[in-house]
């Protein structure tokens, strides 16, 4: 007997697997801006994506929005605990320290962590999430031009921190 239509079908499961493979690391990096357990937040967001009917037209932007809400909620719940454990917490690396990278992973983590949250959020979603400025603006609650201005300002601030390590290029001879 053919079972009735269920809220979760094969297409949803494939989409979840695809999103985990393509955006899992970037989503965790994004959720880490607010909470200390980003993998739980990302997992819950993927489960919500599987339940969503109809499936969102832009699943990447939908996932970032869901992760943002979940991370904020988790941050509220864990704020008290973090105050007690924050001093003893071991710093977590945000980027893989691969050989051959022009920028140092630890310095990138520290520099990115020093950015204001509004700018850091834009950089992460734009640079590693691949969202358009329109989608970034909808996600953080501003216009696309405002999101672009934040992005440029954040890149300039990061470049200032990395300035000594930048390789001179044709477009950027000063560095």
């Amino acid at each position: 007997m053919q079972p009735p239509q269920t809220p979760m079908d094969e297409a949803a499961i494939q989409l979840v697997q695809q999103m985990l493979a393509q955006q899992g690391a970037a989503l965790e990096l994004y959720a880490r801006q607010w909470c200390q357990a980003p993998e739980d937040v990302v997992q819950e967001a993927l489960l919500r994506l599987a339940r969503e009917r109809p499936l969102p037209e832009r699943p990447v932007a939908w996932l970032y929005c869901s992760v943002r809400r979940g991370a904020l909620s988790a941050a509220r719940g864990a704020s008290r605990r973090q105050r007690h454990e924050g001093a003893a917490a071991k710093p977590v690396e945000w980027f893989a320290g691969d050989l051959g990278q022009a920028l140092d992973a630890e310095l990138a983590t520290a520099s990115l962590d020093d950015l204001p949250l509004a700018e850091r959020e834009v950089v992460v979603t734009r640079l590693w999430g691949g969202l358009s400025f329109q989608e970034v603006g909808e996600l953080v609650g501003c216009s696309s031009s405002a999101a672009q201005r934040r992005y440029v300002a954040a890149l300039a601030a990061l470049r200032e921190r990395f300035g000594v390590r930048c390789f001179p290029t044709k477009d950027c001879p000063k560095s």
Partner: protein, 217 residues
């Protein structure tokens, strides 16, 4: 993953280098995620098999939440009260000082108590005041009543009645005025309001003397 749109030239290279950094590998366990997806799917299937409640869309009244209905009712009530407030006439409290009216004469019976039914006096007849006689020189049967017009009660009819009133035999200077034309007072001090009571005539002195001094006649 990224593009250089709208970026200053000096930032494009830096953006490319920054994008080359790879976030640490996701710690989301794929196996655990698939297991939870399976559990979620099984629970959803069970819900459908139990009656398809999960697939039914809520009706309009289920979508209308309680707080929304309460807000609607409160808004309608506020609008109605506001309309009533605008449409209703406004009353302004104002203190008005009026001259104090002269105190009306108090009608008493023979015992000195106010007549509780004095208001039944005919408004067309002159108001009279009946006071209890306390003069010791009056006979007991005369003492019960000394009726006279109220001092300061200046109706023309009152003066006329005072002139026409009979005099008490033992005190000719005191006029006697009955309560009204239809009712008379009896020696017990009570007003006789029975229908068969004979009214006294003002000009019939003999009748008044018989009334006041029944033993001498």
């Amino acid at each position: 993953m990224f593009s250089h749109e709208g970026l200053p030239e000096e930032l494009k290279a830096f953006e490319a280098e920054l994008a080359a950094l790879r976030p640490v590998v996701s710690r989301v366990s794929r196996d655990r995620l698939m297991y939870r997806l399976g559990v979620q799917s099984a629970l959803a299937r069970l819900a459908v098999d139990d009656g398809g409640v999960a697939q039914q869309s809520p009706s309009w009244w289920q979508r209308l939440h309680l707080w929304q209905a309460a807000a609607l009712v409160l808004a309608c009530t506020s609008l109605a009260l506001g309309a009533l407030l605008i449409a209703s006439p406004r009353y302004i409290d104002r203190v008005v000082y009026l001259p104090r009216p002269a105190a009306p004469p108090q009608t008493l019976n023979a015992t000195g108590a106010p007549l509780d039914r004095a208001g039944e006096l005919d408004a067309k007849q002159p108001a009279l005041t009946i006071v209890a006689a306390s003069r010791s020189r009056l006979k007991p049967n005369e003492r019960w009543l000394t009726a006279m017009a109220a001092p300061g009660f200046d109706y023309p009819q009152n003066a006329e009645l005072r002139a026409r009133a009979p005099r008490i035999a033992s005190d000719p200077g005191t006029p006697i005025i009955a309560t009204d034309q239809r009712h008379v007072a009896n020696p017990s001090g009570k007003v006789d309001r029975s229908p068969g009571a004979t009214p006294l005539r003002w000009s019939d002195h003999r009748q008044w003397n018989e009334f006041l001094n029944p033993a001498s006649h």
